[in-house]
């Protein structure tokens, strides 16, 4: 019995840590690229986006996990998408009500969470096969991995692109902002080099 519960704890711990590095959705699995590129010009929208994704991910994983025995194989993707669309509508309305500035800044990228591959991938790979608790842990881990990756990228782009961090001036006055990093070009270049760095670190470690 003791070994069994040890095994259980191990599974949860592994799942919890997987999202942060080993299976980081953005940096390792290349999922959810659109929001990663689109909202990372500054840290604040990136963080808000991360929180929205965590909310939708947890809710949809719980929902999918609850109905996992009743799903018909050929209709499951449709069911996932409809579930996700419902929760994204809720998240969008919440954001409009409590964070109108952020809602305006993120624009169509909040409803675009519906087609964020991370959420549908977790519904398919984890929630449709596992009990609720494990699905929640998985959602939190993947969501945290996504948020951290977004904030790192946004941090690089905001500090170098505007000289600020979380809208507070951090670079010395003499620093000339690399304006290109705040533009679409910067998103592609920064993410490209970040992914290159991650590959380099992985190679060094193994």
């Amino acid at each position: 019995m003791a070994t069994d519960s040890d095994g259980q704890t191990c599974v949860y711990k592994n799942t919890l840590l997987a999202g942060l590095w080993r299976e980081n959705p953005v940096l390792r699995l290349l999922l959810g690229m659109c929001p990663t590129l689109a909202v990372t010009a500054a840290v604040k929208p990136a963080f808000t986006m991360g929180m929205c994704v965590v909310f939708v991910l947890v809710c949809s994983n719980v929902m999918v996990s609850l109905m996992r025995d009743k799903l018909k194989p050929h209709l499951r993707i449709l069911m996932f998408t409809l579930t996700i669309a419902t929760f994204v509508t809720i998240a969008d309305l919440l954001l409009k009500a409590f964070q109108p500035d952020m809602s305006a800044a993120l624009g169509p990228y909040v409803p675009l969470i519906i087609v964020n591959c991370i959420i549908i991938a977790r519904a398919e790979a984890c929630a449709s096969k596992n009990p609720i608790l494990l699905s929640i842990v998985d959602a939190l881990s993947m969501g945290a991995g996504f948020t951290v990756a977004l904030c790192v990228l946004a941090g690089i782009r905001e500090v170098l692109g505007t000289g600020k961090f979380f809208e507070i001036q951090v670079m010395p006055k003499a620093f000339v902002p690399w304006a290109a990093l705040s533009m679409p070009v910067g998103a592609f270049l920064a993410l490209g080099f970040l992914l290159g760095l991650v590959t380099l670190i992985t190679k060094k470690r193994s």
Binding site: L30, T81, L82, C117, V185, L195, K203
Partner: protein, 195 residues
């Protein structure tokens, strides 16, 4: 005359200046995944253009004829995604019946068009830009598709040549593709002044 002028500028704007892939970051997944060979990229582009035209027009109609008059805007996202999923299903059945080789070469990427953000993104942008004529909505949907096809074909052309280049080991694959996309997006910024 004014309408024609408006349509032409709208079309150019959505193809070149507001290119969905290079300035709005929509449809990055197929952009990285299918841009290895130019013929597949072109096929993917055509499939996306078709689905985009169909779903852009349909969602605009549903939005303006059903949802807004009935005050059901809250269900907008659910309706949009249903329309897109059905349109993709239609294309999939058509391709499987009439172009089996193309169907086989797409593999998993065809059903994935459903979750192609470019399509839902365009439907949402039509709503956000406040497009109020059906003709304009159709032209912008076609333009969005053509813009996507153009971007993915340019990328496929570059990547075919990139195979003969000595890329640093850790930048191979996705990183170098993203960096190339960055330079392309820089080039497309040059179009910003033409309208």
């Amino acid at each position: 005359m004014d309408t024609v002028y408006l349509l032409i500028t709208g079309f150019l704007s959505v193809v070149l200046i507001n290119n969905l892939v290079l300035t709005k970051f929509l449809g990055i997944c197929p952009y990285l995944g299918v841009s290895g060979r130019i013929d597949m990229a072109f096929g993917m582009g055509l499939a996306v253009t078709f689905v985009m035209t169909l779903s852009g027009t349909l969602t605009w109609l549903i939005d303006h004829m059903v949802l807004i008059p009935l005050g059901l805007e809250v269900t907008r996202y659910v309706c949009f995604i249903l329309v897109i999923a059905s349109a993709v299903q239609l294309v999939e059945m058509y391709l499987r019946k009439f172009f089996p080789p193309l169907y086989d070469s797409f593999g998993i990427f065809l059903p994935l068009i459903t979750t192609n953000c470019a399509i839902l993104g365009l439907c949402l942008f039509l709503n956000l830009w406040g497009i109020d004529s059906l003709l304009e909505a159709v032209v912008l949907s076609v333009g969005g598709g053509i813009g996507f096809t153009m971007a993915i074909c340019i990328m496929a052309g570059i990547r075919e040549n990139l195979r003969m280049v000595d890329v640093p080991e850790s930048l191979q694959g996705a990183p170098i593709t993203l960096i190339t996309a960055g330079i392309l997006s820089l080039a497309f910024m040059g179009f910003a002044g033409i309208i």
